[in-house]
Homo-oligomer: 139 residues x 2
DNA sequence: ATTGCTGCAAACTCTTTGCAAGTTC
DNA sequence: GAACTTGCAAAGAGTTTGCAGCAAT
């Protein structure tokens, strides 16, 4: 229950009205990794809860605007979402749709320092995104 | 004319048949920055040359498979393409659809070295992609 | 001659939008 | 009760596919 209140808080703090759909969408974003809008719709069905696909998109878009979550663009052309992360990067498989998080604060600091000391002409950096494309060697 | 022959060569070397459409598409990729499929179609029209949108997509997909070009996923959901680059990064505007190249070999080396020395568990890196999201301060 | 490519149109997928009814604050 | 949100359905944008005819090797 405590968890649910955290979601409500986040939504209130973002200046949005709290609805069941929004709380559940936030919750799903916490429990499924990088879901697409359709993944979220399916998860509502799995839990016997109702939502329309339009609402899912509307809500996700509202969350993105409020910076509660962010979009990931993928090779497959489907947009995926994730809770706004403590900085991390992404590993993309060349072979399939797999996406994994990769945490490396050291690397992030390295890039940040480099950019800060050097600067980019005519550009102010707001966010750093880094992806590694390659092959997963586990399983 | 020499330029055109270079395009033909690239296509032959990729094991694809040389057609006027393909040569022109390669040429457009060289002269327009990060075009979408539709940008390419428009450019054919500008030059009074004919192509169908299906062919544009087929060709781009063939080129991507042969690694002649690569896809860029953008916030807007439209896929853009570019000639397979000497490594560089991308600057994305938070406000509009603008995308610029950013060259920084030093930074690339930094990231590469870091990854090589440290390694990523269960993952082999094939390609590094880095984007900076922020604001253009020129103009 | 064989294989691959083009053009066209139809189909598909993902996402957005308009609006009436319902909810939240 | 004012403002916002939902659900639904329809529309829109971008991309993919099937196939007959044509072109490249």
């Amino acid at each position: 229950m405590n968890e649910l209140n955290t979601y409500r808080e986040k939504i209130v703090n973002a200046g949005l009205k709290v609805t069941n759909q929004r709380v559940l969408i936030l919750s799903i974003l916490e429990h499924i990794s990088h879901p697409s809008a359709d993944d979220i719709l399916q998860e509502f069905r799995n839990r016997n809860r109702n939502v329309s696909i339009g609402t899912v998109y509307n809500t996700l878009e509202a969350f993105v605007e409020k910076r509660l979550i962010r979009k990931l663009e993928t090779e497959g052309g489907v947009v995926r979402y994730e809770l706004t992360p403590d900085s991390h990067f992404h590993l993309y498989s060349r072979e399939d749709e797999r996406v994994e998080d990769y945490f490396d604060d050291e690397l992030l600091a390295l890039i940040r320092d480099h950019i800060e000391s050097k600067g980019i002409k005519d550009f102010t950096v707001d966010e750093i995104r880094l992806q590694f494309i390659g092959s997963f060697t586990d399983k």
